[in-house]
């Protein structure tokens, strides 16, 4: 074999090895986390872990219920805030904004997407915590330190904006102009066209974007950890402090080395996090790919 062919062969095989290794990465992560979680299942049942309400590793209690509630609340409220604002913004950018405004707003969205999560956490600390404590909570007649579910939700909502907005704008742009013309020529207003044609045509992409946003919010660790309060009790209101699965991993990091059982419990938390985000992402990507194929006019 002459040198060129040899180089070719090796080069190609090397590429193959690398590619396969990376593709299998998520399998490796899954199995490693699973393996590490098994230990805690020897002494605690899954039901006990998921539904018991006391998280006291020092006393061998690993009830995740309060943390699960906290996670659902934080993520749920975050999406409740983010989804309408993002979709309306996306509609504005794609359908209503004059060309100049579009050019100005686009970089804002891109920059927002690039801000590191620590910085989000810091700004939430500096601005949202006092805001919630001194303005929003008193308005409802509640007292709070400001480190609570609501603050974490608002922070997450802002982090999720760019994801949903850019996916929605992209999918609105993919809809051919002639489809809009078809609706407008019957005498529909622009908004009616958006409601009845654009939303319908991009429904899969919008759903997919929301799922991806959910995955992002669910898995966000640092920013939430800085403002959610870190109390592992079931939150009674949005103004109570709480804890999320992702944030728990960071909070407990230094303690977990003290016992293998604790470590195993946290690995299980990581596994739950991984699996949930994975499922949402798989679903979202799946829908998105099918929608992309459909719209290749």
């Amino acid at each position: 074999m002459d040198r060129r062919k040899l180089r070719d062969f090796l080069g190609t095989k090397l590429m193959l090895v690398v590619t396969v290794a990376v593709s299998l990465l998520f399998f490796s992560i899954f199995f490693l986390l699973l393996y590490k979680s098994l230990f805690i299942f020897e002494s605690h049942s899954l039901a006990e872990i998921l539904f018991s309400s006391s998280w006291n590793p020092g006393f061998n209690q690993f009830g995740l219920y309060p943390i699960i509630v906290g996670t659902i609340l934080v993520t749920g409220v975050a999406l409740l805030i983010a989804v309408p604002i993002s979709i309306l913004s996306a509609v504005y950018i794609a359908e209503y904004a004059p060309k100049n405004m579009r050019r100005v707003v686009r970089p804002f969205i891109d920059v927002l997407a690039g801000v590191p999560s620590v910085v989000y956490g810091l700004c939430a600390l500096l601005f949202l915590v006092p805001l919630v404590k001194d303005v929003i909570a008193p308005w409802f007649g509640i007292e709070t330190t400001g480190y609570c579910i609501l603050t974490a939700s608002i922070t997450l909502a802002i982090m999720v904006f760019p994801i949903i907005i850019s996916l929605c704008v992209e999918s609105f742009h993919a809809i051919p102009l002639s489809l809009r013309e078809a609706s407008l020529s019957i005498g529909a207003t622009k908004w009616e066209t958006v409601k009845k044609v654009i939303f319908r045509a991009s429904a899969p992409s919008i759903i997919s974007a929301v799922f991806l946003g959910f995955g992002r919010a669910f898995g966000e660790t640092i920013a939430v950890n800085m403002v959610v309060g870190g109390i592992t009790r079931t939150p009674s209101t949005l103004f109570s402090p709480g804890q999320t699965l992702a944030s728990l991993i960071v909070s407990a990091y230094s303690d977990m080395m003290s016992s293998p059982l604790y470590e195993s419990a946290l690995m299980m938390v990581a596994l739950i996090l991984f699996v949930v985000v994975l499922l949402f992402n798989i679903f979202a990507i799946f829908i998105l790919r099918r929608a992309k194929k459909r719209w290749n006019f």
Binding site: K99, P176, L177, S178, L179, R180, E181, A182, S183, L184, S185, I186, G187, A188, T189, E192, K196, V197, R200, A201
Partner: protein, 255 residues
């Protein structure tokens, strides 16, 4: 020549430019009511632009400048503060490629009805049936009205778009090369439909096949590089063209 020749659409010194390029220049034309007027000319000469200016569909794109007057039944539709959706309701549009809305067959036809009229469900059903009958689709789809419109063949989709357009009772039908994306049989069906419909509607047909224009047109407007070269009765136009460019186009020298 018919003695009762009412003018439905008239343009006065219409100029349209896209991104600074002039597409239409000094257009003065008249479109008579309840006749079929064909707009012909080589590709890229502004025919579609002219058509879409009649229902003010041009302005949804960026960087469009329109000046002049477009009179529909005597009143200028280009004046500001006009209810544009209302004007559009008067004009139905049939595009080159059929664009069924992403909904069922029935909902496609009912789309305009639900927006504009206060009819109840029963009346809407009746109108849907009537329109589908008018375009000859009823027998083919009556058992699957709730199927998504995208499942129809291209020819059927085009007829569906026609039914959708006439459902809101427009006065004018704007057709932009509606048969160019269809197979010969479907194309023939559409042509026959247009001939039938021109008794009740004013039809403006953009076409780039001379033979089609000869088959269906009552009046012809010849557009070349954004300007009107000649317009008039079809018979006179085809048998006795006055302009040298018209003669060149008709003889196939330019296309």
């Amino acid at each position: 020549m018919s003695t009762e020749r009412r003018i439905q659409i008239e343009t006065k010194n219409l100029n349209v430019s896209f991104h600074g390029h002039d597409v239409l220049r000094n257009i003065d034309i008249t479109i008579p009511a309840k006749k079929l007027t064909a707009i012909i000319g080589p590709s890229g000469c502004g025919k579609t632009t002219l058509l879409k200016s009649f229902n003010r569909l041009l302005e949804i794109q960026d960087d469009v400048k329109i000046s002049g007057q477009i009179l529909v039944d005597g009143s200028n539709i280009l004046r500001p503060r006009l209810d544009v959706p209302d004007i559009r309701k008067k004009m139905g549009l049939l595009s080159q490629k059929p664009y069924p809305l992403p909904m069922s067959i029935r909902d496609n036809v009912a789309y305009g009805l639900r927006i504009h009229s206060n009819k109840n469900k029963g009346e809407i059903e009746k109108t849907v049936e009537h329109c589908l009958q008018e375009v000859g689709l009823w027998n083919e789809v009556k058992d699957r009205l709730h199927d998504p419109a995208s499942r129809l063949s291209v020819g059927q989709q085009q007829r569906l778009c026609l039914a959708r357009a006439i459902a809101v009772q427009p006065e004018v039908l704007l057709c932009d090369e509606p048969t160019s994306a269809l197979d010969p049989i479907s194309a023939q069906q559409i042509e026959k439909l247009l001939l039938k419909l021109k008794k009740d509607y004013t039809v403006v047909l953009v076409t780039h096949t001379l033979r089609q224009a000869k088959r269906v047109a009552d009046y012809v407007i010849f557009l070349y590089f954004g300007m009107v070269i000649e317009q008039g009765l079809a018979d006179e136009f085809f048998n006795n063209p006055k302009n040298p460019e018209t003669k060149a186009y008709l003889s196939g020298e330019i296309s």
